[in-house]
Subunit: 517 residues, 2 copies
């Protein structure tokens, strides 16, 4: 009997390795995550709480901890822990979900660590130095409405970005080397295909779209807005036990732990909807992050955000598909009136709802509505793709920008500040970032369509009871708990039964425009 | 000529070493400080901002960074950097202030690092484990008003504290081994000497002191209190550019960088003075920390708080010498009335001012006034000194406590919750902490006396213009910029021309009681 138990234990160990043996690896990743969360707190605090003169030392605190975190990630010790796990993979039970997760974890880690090791330290430092300086140059050029001031700095950034893409390596075209950092397994050709139909459909919609005036007869105090804003995440399903809302210059969301999500908004007393939509948007990001945190028992490389596009799909879904729906406002409008101390007759529902879905072409991306926004992004994608491929020179940017604004919107750009200089992104070398905004919109429409086709009672549940439970359940299974198990494309296919397709977004936006009539 | 320059440069180097050569050492200490400040942010956020469910992961973040900081402090690398500096000390210009600072820095570091290396890791861990558990035991025993429940836990803590004192080593008596960690170069015998006169003088004062009722006719909203509270640090000279005020369960102050001081208060709508005095107290701590940060150009082991007693002297000076003075309230009372929206005739100044200086004996330390407070502390000091020396057993605590309450206050203790169980300190093993509270009061009275004897216009400047500039200037020279250059005793002697002496406090308290008549 003793012998047979012994033999059994050997067989057992060979076939089904005990995952508790991974202690070193798990502890390492857990520590890494705690440091990352601490770093996120340093950033959050600096945007939301810190007294002004704390800035210099805070930069040093951030630099120090960033470097510590980076060293951990690329360390020999981490190599060794991963190596130990890999040795054990053949002994894993291939039918257990934990094992499948572990195999995927290692795959994800190796892919991302290999990528991060491809850049020479000198290039990273030079990139950081150049973009740090360029930020001030850009801001001054924008203030002076003069692209010429920014030209040389941008040229250097484009050169370094091309060099970066070459280090990473790519298929088909150089832009893909950068895009991969924002949207894994997605190519410029995929985007072109997705954006083609969208662009052709949106140009006429924007021309037809109707704009409605701000229906608020007077401003709403920051105090009243804050009362309402603080309720909103809870209504959407993000508990105050695991989150908080504050004010910052630019709205953002961040994670300081699996049960500590922070979101911010900013308040315009003249336009109270601006803050509500920021809260809807940032709550969407935070719900995704919170959902990811419930995917695995311990911090893991697979229970992290999949891509910029998928992250944005989660914010956009709550901001647009939910936040601009009639059902949401049927539920939320009376709550808003009460907190804002406004009478119904002072803010008729139909005037209000039309304003929520206004379409008005504008020269400025961040001021644009949900339809127009995508054309702004496609314009930027077309330009930056050519820039990185080398088919377009930095000198040509203002003229190509203005031509495209004429083509897309029939708008004439009067100066560079309202044209090519309006966004901060290129001054930071973030080539490949812009398209993920519209990818988020495409994904959000497709995901919501996938959800709704099997949950026809959703609008009813929302309108009558503010009940989002079916949507939470669906997103948890199809998006949040997918973590990094699949590529973005695969996630969309698995969740909706179809490849990524912009026609869902087009259909959604068309229906919003028609609803206005 | 070339040769003579060469010779001169050699001589120059030998005689006056360039302090820039200390880069490694400076960088190490700077990094260490950045990590300490980051750790302080993790703590501050958890008390002031964090959503409830963030607590578990936050504990892990804190544990991880604490351990990192501890490892840095005790590292071989730090030994080496200090060793390099020591080799250069003979080459320093003994007349330069920088050199004198550097020599003192190394002396302070060696003393503190030697002390911290004396405790075996096992003892530190056991101490931490036992006190963590004891906290819950104490809270429950206090709730049940039953010392017997806490007795065994406290016995273990006393044993471990004795062992700790033995590891550190001491002169004269065992208690000194612990006291040194709170108040360097101060012995139990010194305290006994200082406290003797104080005790004998205060017992009759407390019996004579008059208590006045809360003069506020109705409660003051948290909103109004916050408006006033936010002004107060700025009025005392702590700029909003380098500080912020928030709400927490227990008021505290902390430093997140040399230009980032955070203070907190709590608000009682029924008793608005409670919050004002917390802000005065915590601002005093923060002004000291801010002043220390301006002592040296870079983070340094000498530009840190000297001792618990000196730190407390700074908070008490602003809370009592300033905050209970007629001049301060002549200036601040109209501002308070305005922010609280109270009419003069609803809160007559004399009623109000008498309340500010009320004396009423109480069983509870944290509810006691500025006179009574010190007797509470002396009582605790007498008991804990005997406990650590081994002349008193844990079993005897309730009876000795209650006897002393009779002796000091002529008060009868009805149960352990209002007696020996009232304070958290002993459950955390903080023997040696209590006496620094009264040491702070003694120092604050003596320091203020030292300042005032050469600044007779101070009350006038304060009353008429809210002008604290002369006090700031004096404290900067005599306390803040002394850092750790001297022992607490030496600092007091240097600043006031006399050895630490409790008669200044007695005189101050007597004058407050007389003022009431």
């Amino acid at each position: 009997m003793e012998l047979s138990l012994y033999l059994f234990s050997i067989l057992f160990n060979i076939t089904f390795m005990d995952l508790n043996e991974l202690n070193d690896y798990r502890k390492f990743w857990s520590d890494y995550t705690r440091y990352q969360d601490t770093l996120a707190l340093l950033h959050w605090d600096s945007e939301v709480m810190m007294p002004e003169q704390g800035r210099n030392e805070r930069s040093e605190q951030i630099a120090l901890l960033s470097s510590h975190v980076h060293k951990m990630y690329t360390s020999k010790q981490f190599d060794d822990f991963i190596g130990e796990v890999k040795l054990r993979i053949p002994r894993l039970d291939p039918n257990s979900i934990q094992s499948q997760h572990l195999i995927k974890e290692i795959e994800v880690l190796e892919k991302e660590r290999n990528r991060s090791k491809k850049l020479p330290v000198e290039l990273v430092e030079e990139f950081s130095r150049v973009t740090n300086q360029a930020h001030g140059v850009w801001a001054s050029a924008k203030k002076n409405k003069n692209f010429a001031e920014f030209k040389d700095a941008l040229k250097r950034i484009v050169e370094l970005s091309k060099e970066t893409a070459e280090c990473y390596g790519y298929k088909e075209e150089r832009y893909n080397g950068l895009l991969e950092g924002y949207e894994p397994d997605t190519k410029a050709g995929d985007l072109e295909e997705l954006f083609k139909h969208l662009k052709n459909s949106l140009i006429p919609i924007v021309q037809e779209g109707k704009s409605y005036p701000n229906p608020f007869k007077s401003s709403v105090s920051a105090e009243y807005q804050t009362i309402l804003n603080k309720k909103l995440p809870e209504i959407l399903g993000l508990s105050q036990d695991v989150s908080r809302l504050d004010i910052s210059l630019h709205p953002f969301s961040t994670s300081l732990g699996s049960k500590d999500k922070r979101i911010t908004t900013r308040i315009s007393e003249a336009d109270p909807l601006s803050s509500i939509f920021s809260v809807l948007h940032e709550t969407g990001h935070a719900l995704y992050e919170y959902g990811l945190g419930t995917m695995t028992e311990f911090p893991s490389p697979i229970s992290q955000a999949l891509s910029y596009g998928i992250h944005e799909s989660q914010s956009r879904l709550w901001e647009n598909q939910i936040g601009r729906s009639r059902a949401f406002w049927n539920y939320f409008y009376p709550i808003m009136l009460k907190d804002f101390q406004i009478y119904h007759y002072d803010l008729p529902f139909e005037d209000f709802f039309k304003y929520v879905n206004s379409v008005q072409k504008t020269k400025i991306r961040v001021e644009s509505d949900q339809v127009t926004y995508n054309l702004h992004i496609i314009l930027r994608f077309e330009i930056e793709r050519e820039l990185i491929s080398g088919n377009l020179e930095v000198e040509e940017l203002p003229s190509i920008w203005n031509e495209k604004m004429k083509e897309f919107f029939d708008l004439k750009i009067d100066n560079d500040a309202e044209g090519v200089l309006q966004d901060v992104h290129w001054s930071g070398g973030s080539f490949g970032y812009f398209p993920t905004y519209t990818l988020g919109n495409i994904y959000s429409a497709q995901l919501f369509h996938g959800f709704f086709s099997s949950h026809n009672n959703f609008w009813d549940d929302l309108e009558k009871r503010g009940d989002f439970s079916s949507l939470h359940k669906w997103l948890k299974i199809n998006v949040w708990h997918q973590g990094k198990l699949r590529s973005p494309k695969e996630l969309i296919k698995e969740a909706t039964g179809a490849n990524p397709d912009s026609s869902y977004l087009v259909k959604y936006l068309k229906s919003k425009v028609q609803e206005q009539d």
